[in-house]
């Protein structure tokens, strides 16, 4: 035991035999040599025995509570970029409004959560009690260059325009972002507190029961492609 081979080639041959990497011819020659060379035979037996013993080493027993201990040490849940992308991925709905009263009224609905993180209060929007994952931020926009104030009223705020005001941006555009649960919402813009403007080009309109028509917005439950209007 412990016999060392001076010939590197022989040592490599033994190791390759152990790893079962010899060709058929090499194997025949090697086995034949084993019969003649006692030292080589002992060397081979020692190595084979070593590997058998290594394979039989007792496997450690995983202590009870190992997984729980690791779980306690994990940092707080931090969604991966992939999930964040899913939650905040821009999802665009475009709607064009042409008002009958004003010279130009174009409404664009944009689902662009990547740039919108503001959260209205629950007083403003009852649907916000739903889980974050089911909320879709919807940006409403309308061109009203001459307006002093623009609000929106709809199913999502109890038809109370005072709850949801749009902010003026540039070039006469007014916008607001409303987090909405998946569902179907009717709404109208209110200009300067007195002019109620529906969307004549909305994908769908419905009678409001009072002789006028409301625009209808469908908020999908899953990300959707930009609709063609």
């Amino acid at each position: 035991m412990g016999h060392m081979f001076d010939e590197a080639g022989t040592e490599a041959l033994v190791q390759r035999f152990i790893d079962q990497e010899l060709t058929a011819e090499e194997r025949v020659r090697f086995v034949s040599r084993l019969g003649r060379d006692e030292a080589l035979r002992q060397r081979t037996i020692d190595l084979e025995t070593l590997l058998i013993d290594a394979g039989r080493l007792p496997r450690p027993i995983v202590p009870d509570g190992f997984a729980a201990s690791v779980m306690e040490r994990l940092p707080a849940v931090r969604p991966s970029r992939r999930l964040r992308d899913l939650l905040w991925m821009p999802r665009t709905l475009e709607w064009n409004f042409v008002g009958a009263i004003v010279p130009v009224a174009v409404a664009v609905l944009i689902v662009a959560a990547a740039v919108v993180r503001q959260t209205p209060t629950t007083e403003q929007l009852a649907p916000l009690s739903a889980s974050v994952a089911s909320i879709t931020p919807v940006r409403l926009a309308i061109m009203q260059p001459g307006a002093r104030m623009v609000q929106v009223a709809g199913d999502f705020n109890g038809w109370n325009p005072a709850q949801t005001s749009l902010e003026q941006t540039t070039d006469g555009a007014w916008t607001v972002t409303i987090p909405l649960k998946p569902g179907r919402y009717a709404y109208m813009f209110v200009v300067d507190g007195r002019r109620w403007i529906a969307d004549p080009f909305a994908a769908e309109q419905k009678d409001d029961g009072f002789g006028a028509r409301n625009a209808v917005l469908d908020v999908p439950s899953a990300p959707m492609a930009r609709p063609t209007l």
Binding site: L50, A54, A67, M71
Partner: protein, 197 residues
């Protein structure tokens, strides 16, 4: 139906901690075995835990371009290396050992035969493995204790296949010598000092 590792990894990457809990349970023994053979039982559990915590933190970077278990082994080996560095902060663990020095280290490791009149061969082998230089130890453990093939080992260790083979060869030779010494001393009733490792 039981989810495979890839599905559990994807779920974990999306924040599903329970999915990661399943991965821990599934691979705990392999990693604990690795750390036990590399470091000894005293440090094994802590380092195994460190391995899983590090894996969880690194999950967003894991692109499933290898098996999860292979990736986990890689982290485990790195954690073992860190632990060994902490033991011997001034010792280089990465360099290929000088053969003559290796022979001395392997042949001279102190085995407490006096305390091991009924010692099992497994104990001696375990001690022999832990006395190996790191680059031989990790190669031998992955190949012959954990059962990885050379290609998997190459992924885990980032070392060429042929280099790994040579390391495994040397590890086997050293362990054969180590076990031979153990047997001879055991048969002669000689006392051997306990390894300082």
């Amino acid at each position: 139906m039981e989810l495979d590792d890839a599905a559990l990894v994807r779920a974990s990457q999306q924040g599903d901690r329970d999915a990661f809990g399943v991965l821990i349970s599934r691979h705990a023994q392999s990693i604990l075995s690795l750390t036990t053979r590399m470091l000894g039982a005293a440090e094994a559990e802590d380092v195994a835990q460190d391995t899983f915590v590090a894996a969880y933190k690194a999950l967003p970077t894991f692109k499933l371009d290898s098996k999860f278990k292979t990736w986990l082994y890689r982290i485990g080996v790195n954690k073992c290396t860190d632990a060994l560095r902490a033991r011997r902060p001034n010792t280089s663990l990465d360099a290929e050992p000088d053969d003559s020095a290796v022979m001395l280290e392997a042949a001279d490791h102190d085995t407490p035969l006096s305390q091991l009149e009924q010692a099992e061969l497994a104990w001696a082998l375990d001690q022999g493995i832990q006395a190996l230089p790191l680059v031989y130890r990790e190669s031998f453990v992955l190949r012959h204790v954990e059962g990885l093939d050379y290609d998997e080992m190459s992924v885990v260790l980032g070392v060429k296949r042929d280099t790994l083979k040579m390391r495994v060869y040397k590890a086997r030779t050293l362990l054969c010598q180590s076990l031979a010494t153990f047997r001879e001393r055991n048969e002669n009733g000689a006392h051997v000092r306990r390894s300082r490792n």
